[in-house]
């Protein structure tokens, strides 16, 4: 036809018969195949299920008292369907589902124990340490109520606060405060048993020598790790021989860090804020400084960009779940996630820091305040009006659609 300028000789000997027969050939292939049982699960699927279970049921096997805190050891609860706890990376957390006065809330806790303790099919365990915190309803509830034999539901292991040798320096200076020791305890244990291989110097800030969490256990790990783990205690409220005094400052980090090193920080929000300023003085590139997610932002009043007139109010919130509307209230210093969970609407959530995105919800109408430092949304979420209610505060009446998984 001359419409196309290609060399027709390449088609020599070719007919259209094969094309017209293609469906027949396909049918013949299907007809010739065995009608065997369909295999849809392979090793990658099995591993995915083991490493990332929807939920884990764990029973409290042991409780150890710590200063203003308790360390709980959990074991798999076969009877409730968890045959083995999920393996994880030292530094990851699990989100606990806590039933409290008839409402269900979730709170993240770092797994303090070594990943090895969760390996295999039998006798898997996690250890978490819960410290009393001044305005922590959940921690108070846990310390007062959780007892041996109780079964608690957890998420799969989550979070990115773990060592990666391709990214991090071989020497890591850990800056820890209070229960923020837990990820480093797990890392130290993983180094001691050979799961991880890097040098970890833990600068651990406590108020007094008596308030140090996991003190003896840390000393044991230090010995076991044969030079790869070093623990330095820093006391803010006490001067004592054998202890550093004051806060974890840039000077302190410099004293223990030399050559190429990474700084990992985990602790109460005030300490993390202080450390952000201190680590900046070190002049390290951003990739050498890593902070664990900070936890709840807290009262947004006074934050840059927060409208002063919004403070101290309570707003009407309409929450849509699978087409059904519920009216609830939310104080202006309360996150929308918190208001939902307190009202018995089990919005999914893990990090409660605005960052992991698990609570991703649709803002139908109304205005909310999202602190910049806790706004971990994707760019397109902003374009289409989606929010992370764990770090969003109402500035008036709000209608939102949320997506519980129960």
């Amino acid at each position: 036809m001359g419409k196309y300028n290609y060399d027709k000789s390449a088609l020599a000997g070719l007919g259209v018969g094969d094309f017209l027969n293609e469906v027949k050939v396909r049918e013949a292939h299907i007809a010739a195949a065995p009608a065997e049982e369909i295999k849809s699960v392979y090793n990658a699927n099995i591993l995915a299920g083991r490493l990332h279970p929807d939920y884990q049921q764990a029973r409290i096997a042991e409780i150890k008292n710590e200063p203003d805190a308790k360390t709980f050891t959990f074991v798999q609860d076969d009877e409730n369907g968890t045959g083995a706890l999920a393996y994880f990376r030292a530094g990851q957390y699990i989100s606990a589902v806590i039933e409290m006065n008839g409402v269900i809330i979730t709170k993240p806790y770092t797994i303090a124990s070594a990943p090895k303790a969760a390996l295999g099919d039998k006798n898997t365990s996690y250890m978490i340490t819960v410290k009393k915190s001044p305005d922590g309803f959940a921690s108070e509830h846990i310390l007062n109520n959780w007892k041996e034999g109780d079964v608690i539901m957890f998420s799969q292991p989550l979070g990115q606060f773990y060592y990666q040798d391709l990214r991090d320096a071989k020497n890591v200076i850990a800056a820890a405060g209070g229960s923020g020791i837990t990820p480093f305890y797990a890392m130290a244990a993983a180094i001691a048993d050979g799961t991880e291989d890097f040098n970890l110097t833990i600068l651990y800030g406590s108020r007094t020598a008596d308030s140090i969490l996991l003190k003896n256990e840390l000393a044991e790990l230090e010995t076991k790790a044969a030079g790869k783990v070093k623990v330095v205690h820093i006391l803010s409220d006490e001067e004592k021989d054998g202890y550093e005094h004051g806060f974890i400052t840039a000077e302190m980090i410099k004293k223990y860090g030399s050559g190429d090193y990474s700084v990992f920080a985990c602790g109460p929000k005030a300490m993390m804020d202080f450390l952000k300023e201190e680590t900046e003085k070190l002049g390290l590139p951003g990739r050498r400084v890593r902070f664990e997610v900070p936890g709840e932002f807290g009262n947004p009043a006074g934050t840059q960009g927060y409208p002063a007139e919004a403070a101290g109010k309570e707003y009407d919130i309409t929450v849509i779940v699978r087409g059904e509307e519920t009216k609830i209230k939310c104080r202006s210093d309360q996150t929308l996630l918190d208001a939902c969970q307190m009202a018995g609407i089990p919005v999914t959530s893990d990090c409660r820091s605005g960052l992991c995105g698990w609570c991703h919800s649709r803002l139908v109408s109304g205005d909310v305040f999202m602190p910049e430092s806790a706004d971990g949304r994707r760019e397109a979420d902003k374009k289409f009006g989606w929010i992370h209610p764990c770090a969003a505060y109402p500035l008036g009446s709000v209608t939102m659609e949320v997506f519980p998984n129960v």
Partner: protein, 512 residues
């Protein structure tokens, strides 16, 4: 509870497209998605100050009409028709392809545009230009033919078949032929052939098994209509779908996993949700692989014999290992320039495919740098470099829980060190964020067997053309149940999944 005309299970690319199609047709549609986000593969994630694209390399058939052939791509028409609010960005190059064989190696960047592509090939392989021209003329014919077929809903009636024979007899001749055979018949020199076949990473069949027509059509389309991406990553496309579907009256429930599809006497009755609810509905569109649905979501007594046979005859496509790096160095200073690069030990993809089956033998990967196309896709002074390795078999079959994290780290390190070695670039001094997704990760998010990302291999008998001709009736075995997605008739890829969703929704509407 509200009554729905149709339920879409899975808000991946195919499911979203189908849902939009139903909603636009005035049907009450409910989308059920087990994750908290739409898109399936089409998503992004945030780490530190970076937002990484999860999977999108480039969309095909997205021409905006302002190209040399003046053609508005079929996928562009479809997505515009849904009213998607997406800021599309064209990629101004075809690909860079590096073969690191010390003797037969090359490193070539191929431009878009027929003339430009042909000239670049002529320059790299003197004397190949006229053959490339010929191949792309076939491409032009194939593109017209595919459009003609689409205008006849891929099912030309008896009269139209005669017209097809007259107009597109050549298309019919080349469809059953493999890419290698046709390129050899045309006389393309070996090296030019290898360069031309660089896109193979994206298709789970080698060039001895892949239809020339499909491969040539795809390449011609990329060259004339350009590859396209979304400014705010593929999450923008998925969120735009969510927005459009709701505006057209559809509902989408996230975190809502469908556990079982209720089928009685060969007819869909409804779906059971994992948390207990049952929703009655006589029409269910699955954006899930039939292997998964018939393997574990349906009463075994209701699985048609044909499905068992079809599934056992098919080969799972490819699974994938991806590595995402956020670097604290500006793209201009990286010392490597290209949006999409295929790094291979040989240009011969048949040999490549033999090596893709296991962790020990697999050596190749592709590299994507969005900053080349969208300079401000990452913060100032940074860039993002992403790698993908595709495995043709159950590559993680023997991996234990204990060695899993170490293995991920090992493969990531191998990729980085290899790339550093062949390019002389220092990546390791700049890694600020690092994320790895293995076949296990994909298995977790997609639920596909082996963590498969490409559906079923479109090799030989199960290629695109026979699939398309079977997708209306022959592969439809349960009343009220249809399938769409990257495993569908149109093969893998975003564009193909969108087309598949529309195609299957159109068929389902006929039956509703």
């Amino acid at each position: 509870m509200k009554k729905y005309d149709v339920i879409v299970v899975g808000a991946g690319n195919g499911g979203l497209s189908a849902a939009a199609y139903f909603a636009r047709a005035g049907k009450k549609v409910l989308v059920l998605e087990k994750h908290n986000l739409p898109g399936g593969c089409a998503t992004s994630f945030v780490r530190g100050r970076f937002e990484f694209e999860a999977t999108l390399h480039e969309l095909c058939q997205m021409g905006d009409g302002k190209n040399e052939v003046g053609r508005v791509g079929a996928v562009r028409q479809l997505l515009d028709g849904y009213g998607l609010n997406v800021d599309w960005v064209a990629v101004e190059e075809a690909f860079r392809t590096i073969v690191y064989d010390p003797e037969k190696g090359y490193d070539v960047t191929m431009p878009v545009g027929i003339k430009e592509f042909t000239a670049a090939m002529e320059k790299e392989v003197p004397g190949s230009g006229k053959f490339v021209q010929c191949v792309l003329e076939y491409g032009r014919m194939l593109c017209d033919g595919v459009e003609w077929l689409a205008a006849h809903n891929n099912e030309p009636g008896p009269l139209a078949k005669i017209e097809m024979l007259l107009k597109y007899g050549d298309l019919m001749k080349v469809v059953p032929k493999s890419t290698n055979e046709m390129l050899d018949r045309i006389g393309l020199p070996e090296k030019a052939k290898y360069i031309f076949e660089s896109y193979w990473d994206y298709i789970s069949a080698n060039s001895d098994q892949m239809s020339f027509a499909v491969y040539c059509f795809m390449t011609y389309t990329y060259l004339t209509q350009k590859p396209w991406i979304a400014r705010e990553k593929s999450h923008e496309i998925s969120m735009a779908f969510d927005d459009a579907i709701r505006k057209m009256g559809g509902d989408i429930w996230y975190n809502t996993e469908v556990d079982r599809i209720d089928i009685k006497d060969g007819r869909v009755k409804g779906v059971h949700l994992k948390y207990g609810q049952y929703i009655e509905c006589e029409n269910v569109m699955c954006n899930l692989m039939p292997t998964v649905v018939f393997g574990r979501m349906v009463d075994p007594a209701e699985v048609p014999e044909r499905e068992k046979k079809l599934i056992s005859a098919r080969i799972i496509g490819q699974n994938c290992f991806t590595l995402y790096l956020g670097l604290d160095i500006p793209y201009e200073q990286l010392g490597f320039k290209a949006y999409d690069t295929f790094v291979r030990f040989t240009g011969d993809n048949v040999k490549q495919y033999e090596s893709f089956g296991s962790l020990d033998t697999h050596r190749d990967y592709c590299v994507t740098i969005i900053n080349e196309v969208i300079p401000d896709c990452s913060p100032e002074g940074t860039c993002m470099v992403q790698f993908a390795k595709f495995y043709t078999d159950d590559a993680f079959r023997d991996v234990t829980e204990e060695e899993y994290f170490k293995l991920k780290d090992r493969i990531a390190r191998e990729i980085v060190e290899h790339f550093e070695k062949i390019t002389g670039i220092d990546l390791q001094s700049h890694i600020e964020e690092l994320v790895v997704a293995s076949p296990v990760t994909w298995a977790r998010y997609l639920g596909t067997p082996q963590g498969d990302v490409y559906g079923y291999s479109p090799a030989g008998w199960d290629g695109m053309f026979p699939r398309v001709q079977s997708g209306h009736k022959l592969d439809h075995t349960v009343q009220g149940l249809r399938f769409c997605g990257g495993h569908g008739t149109q093969m893998d890829g975003y564009s193909q999944a969108y087309l598949s969703g529309a195609e299957q929704a159109r068929y389902m509407l006929e039956e509703m």
